[in-house]
């Protein structure tokens, strides 16, 4: 029963993505990208990955929109030509080919919650984390335990990168304001 909502959302996301790529005015493209992000986050939530949906909502619709607006404030928008960009045929062919290649891998993906999917069927790794993660780390959510404890250094590195990017953005923006 969920499927019709999902298909409608996929159509919406694809339409928003194509419109983002084709619109000539960058401000309009940013607005359309925010719409794309809203649909994408909804899709993640529908696939029962609410944390990813939450991240997509905050980063895609919130932070990226503001950062892109700050960026185009320093640039010049083209006023000539129509509302839509005329796509380069070679680029369009390359994008289409990439979409087809990705689409061909879709039938091999296991269904959501499939008990026979390799991740669950290969008991040695998954079973270990599911049975041992609480005893070893004291974290109730297994995904959080893997992220924050088993691969804690990796996550720490990611957090460092995000922090550095945030500091760099602040420094650049501050300079823009001062000059």
């Amino acid at each position: 029963m969920i499927a019709p909502v999902g298909y409608a959302l996929v159509a919406f996301v694809v339409a928003a993505a194509v419109a983002t790529a084709l619109l000539r005015d960058v401000l309009a493209a940013i607005i359309l990208f925010a719409a794309y992000s809203l649909g994408m986050a909804l899709l993640y939530t529908l696939l029962l990955a609410p944390d990813v949906g939450l991240t997509e909502a905050v980063v895609g619709a919130g932070v990226t929109t503001v950062l892109l607006l700050l960026t185009i404030a320093e640039t010049v928008r083209p006023t000539d030509g129509g509302a839509l960009e005329r796509p380069d045929p070679r680029a369009a062919v390359a994008c289409g080919a990439l979409a087809v290649v990705f689409g061909l891998t879709l039938p091999d993906l296991p269904a959501v919650g499939d008990p026979d999917s390799p991740v669950i069927a290969y008991e040695r790794v998954t079973g270990y984390y599911l049975s041992q993660s609480y005893a070893e780390t004291g974290v109730e959510n297994t995904v959080t335990a893997v992220l924050a404890a088993y691969r804690g250094f990796d996550t720490f590195g990611e957090a460092t990168v995000v922090f550095a990017a945030g500091v760099a953005a602040m420094v650049v923006l501050r300079r823009e304001v001062l000059t």
Binding site: A16, A41, L48, V58, L69, A83
Partner: protein, 90 residues
């Protein structure tokens, strides 16, 4: 059971309506149209999430709906402010 079906049908209908609003966001013609359109899309998303939360009985979806409602406001204000005085996003 029938209630869940009705809620899911309402969610599907709202997604279809979102496509209609997307047309306004693409077509414009003015930037104000697009800002209002993306704002409606955000509100639409909040309602869809609330409906899905009730239909699938997943209360945690409501948290995401709340975050959306906050972000949607921020996004609309940022873009509106940008169109009024260029560069004044913050």
């Amino acid at each position: 059971m029938i209630v869940e079906q009705a809620l899911l049908a309402a969610a599907a209908a709202l997604v279809v309506l979102a496509a209609a609003v997307l047309y306004r966001a693409v077509r414009g013609p003015t930037m104000q149209d697009r800002v209002v359109a993306v704002n409606v899309l955000g509100t639409n998303t909040v309602v869809i999430l609330a409906l899905l939360s009730a239909a699938l009985d997943v209360p945690s979806f409501l948290d995401i709906a709340l975050v959306y409602a906050l972000l949607n406001f921020l996004m609309a204000v940022a873009i509106s402010k940008f169109t009024v005085d260029r560069g004044g996003v913050m």
